[in-house]
């Protein structure tokens, strides 16, 4: 085994730079992707000024709802400053919550609650206005519904003596519980990762897809060495070609895993995201065996690159990042079986796919040993 390691080092010596690049690319892509997404998300927030003429609980609740939107960066300002900023285009628009807002909401009156200021360069004024209007409509609707419930209770001589606030609070609770818009593209079951509107990209999630692709790319050595004329020499050597290949797979697993551990340390330092070492190990074993079997079947480097890219894109799509397949109940049943990364993404050990790949390896080993016997 030591001899096979020496031969691998001899071959790596000639291609160490490209090997290091391929090994580190998943880390680089993950960090690059996350910082790009962060920048884009920051840039995508519309700066809006809110003037609270009505300094009540309801007006503050409205401000909080506006500020919760990931698309809007809302700031409470005085009217003079807000108007100056909108004139200087520092703010996209300004919304003044007029005096008496809370009272009017309670009586279900929706007219003249807000005053808005914008310029000819306020590109996001209309969507932000629509968003605020819909929040107000929701609030007035909720109060109306509460009043109807209380009236009904009194009519039916109920004993609960509900208040408007209690009904409104219950209504909010029910809305949260029965939220139908769930997205399943999550890492380790991160609850409501997308609750803010943007997907909360976990570094391990991004890394898993990139490393799947890169592992298949790196494993093109199998095709090169199976095709190489030197394989004809192996029947006369101490080790069979199959054994030589097996040990080399083990060497690649070890190198990849060392990089994976370094990645774990790096991601913890950068994003405070931890990962189970055992989950990482089972994923790495599975990925290397999977990549080996895939390239052994395809036997053509360029074709294997294309298959790897397509396969990764399909998995990304199935996971719900691009198309919301993963969010449907039907998809959820079969997704774990077709996605080799699913277990890792849910924080579990990649056992099923690993066993499947192991069986594939045994079949490959028996066939190859027969061929060279």
């Amino acid at each position: 085994m030591k001899e096979i390691l020496s031969t691998r080092l001899l071959l790596w010596k000639k291609q160490w730079l490209s090997l290091v690049c391929w090994l580190l690319l998943p880390i680089a892509i993950t960090i690059g992707f996350l910082s790009t997404v962060e920048t884009v998300q920051d840039d995508f927030q519309v700066p809006v000024g809110i003037v609270l003429e009505d300094d009540t609980e309801a007006s503050h609740a409205l401000f909080d709802e506006i500020a919760d939107s990931p698309l809007v960066s809302a700031t409470i300002l005085g009217e003079t400053e807000a108007l100056r900023k909108v004139k200087q285009h520092e703010l996209d628009s300004v919304f003044v919550i007029r005096t008496g807002y809370e009272e009017q909401i309670h009586i279900g009156e929706r007219r003249d609650l807000l005053e808005a200021y914008y310029t000819n360069r306020s590109f996001a004024y209309r969507p932000v206005k629509e968003m605020i209007v819909s929040i107000i409509q929701q609030e007035t609707g909720r109060v109306k519904a509460a009043n109807a419930v209380i009236a009904l209770e009194q009519q039916l001589q109920g004993t609960q003596n509900l208040t408007v606030e209690e009904v409104v609070a219950k209504s909010r609770e029910v809305q949260q519980e029965q939220d139908l818009l769930r997205h399943s593209f999550r890492y380790q079951g991160q609850a409501q990762a997308e609750a803010g509107g943007f997907i909360q990209w976990n570094p391990w999630m991004v890394w898993a897809f990139v490393t799947l692709l890169m592992t298949i790319f790196v494993f093109d050595w199998v095709i090169k060495e199976q095709k190489a004329s030197v394989s004809i020499r192996f029947p006369f050597m101490k080790y069979s070609f199959t054994f030589y290949m097996l040990i080399n797979i083990a060497i690649y697993v070890a190198v990849f895993f060392i990089i994976d551990l370094a990645t774990a340390g790096l991601f913890y330092g950068l994003y405070q995201e931890s990962v189970s070492i055992l989950a990482l190990l089972t994923l790495r074993l599975m990925l290397c065996l999977f990549a080996f079997l895939l390239v052994s079947i395809i036997r053509n480097a360029y074709f294997s690159y294309i298959i790897a890219i397509l396969w990764t894109l399909i998995l990304v799509a199935l996971s719900g990042a691009i198309l919301p397949f993963g969010s449907t109940e039907t998809a959820a049943d079969w997704l774990p079986y077709v996605n080799p990364l699913y277990r890792f993404l849910t924080g579990e050990l990649t056992i099923g796919w690993f066993i499947l790949c192991l069986i594939g390896m045994i079949v490959w080993y028996i066939r190859e040993e027969k061929k060279y016997a």
């Binding site: 001899e3 096979i4 020496s6 031969t7 001899l10 071959l11 010596k13 000639k14 291609q15 190489a228 004329s229 030197v230 004809i232 020499r233 192996f234 029947p235 006369f236 050597m237 101490k238 080790y239 030589y244 060279y372 016997a373």
Partner: protein, 223 residues
């Protein structure tokens, strides 16, 4: 000693080799000639224990090819027609690579000596920068690392210059006599066969090679 008795090889009902028998001793260089498709490479692969005969028996130093294949392979040096080396590695790295996987341990000095003995002196040169003749020499040198007693060469000098061909020929002669190796050699070059081989095995029914070699005073076996 190599002993072949009643050897047959059929591929899907097509008879490639039919009832072939011969024997050869250590220290001999046996040429293997015949037309294209006569079965020279097939015979060489069977002798190399990488392909099975349909019928017949082969013995090498009392080892039976049917029972002792792995033992026999340890003593075979096979020089393929294609140059089976790592192009991106140097001569030294190629020798070290195959020595690591070889049955016999050799020092770098011993490996370099094998190369120098056949006038392959560009030890630190990447293979891709070597001439065809030098690459052929390396192809041969790698097959000799484990000091085999049966050396099988499939057209080892094809496409190289006369000087390299002569150097390889002289080296093989020394290996046969001084190293007491049995060398079986295929080639289309009759001059080379006449000059180098002690005996010649003609495969096929064509009398062309037989007449040619008999005229040159060679011992010819027609099988």
């Amino acid at each position: 000693m190599l002993k072949v008795e009643g050897l047959q090889k059929h591929y899907h009902h097509k008879k490639i080799l039919e009832n072939l028998s011969f024997s050869a001793q250590q220290g001999e260089i046996v040429g293997l000639v015949g037309e294209n498709g006569a079965g020279k490479s097939t015979l060489l692969n069977i002798l190399a224990a990488t392909s099975k005969a349909t019928a017949g028996s082969i013995y090498f130093n009392d080892w039976d090819y049917k029972k002792d294949k792995s033992q026999i392979r340890k003593h075979i040096g096979f020089v393929p027609q294609d140059i089976a080396v790592w192009n991106q590695l140097t001569v030294e790295e190629n020798m070290v690579f195959f020595e690591k996987l070889s049955w016999q341990k050799k020092s770098k000095a011993q490996l370099e000596k094998i190369c120098l003995d056949m006038r392959l002196d560009r030890w630190k040169e990447p293979v891709k920068n070597l001439s065809g003749g030098m690459q052929r020499k390396l192809n041969l040198a790698i097959s000799l690392i484990h000091d085999p007693s049966l050396l099988l060469l499939d057209e080892p000098t094809v496409g190289i210059d006369l000087k390299s061909r002569k150097e390889i020929g002289a080296y093989l002669r020394r290996q046969a006599t001084e190293g007491n190796k049995l060398i079986i050699y295929t080639s289309h070059d009759m001059d080379e066969i006449k000059e180098l081989c002690d005996r010649v095995l003609v495969i096929g029914e064509d009398s062309f090679y037989y007449d040619l070699l008999k005229e040159a005073g060679k011992e010819v076996m027609v099988v």
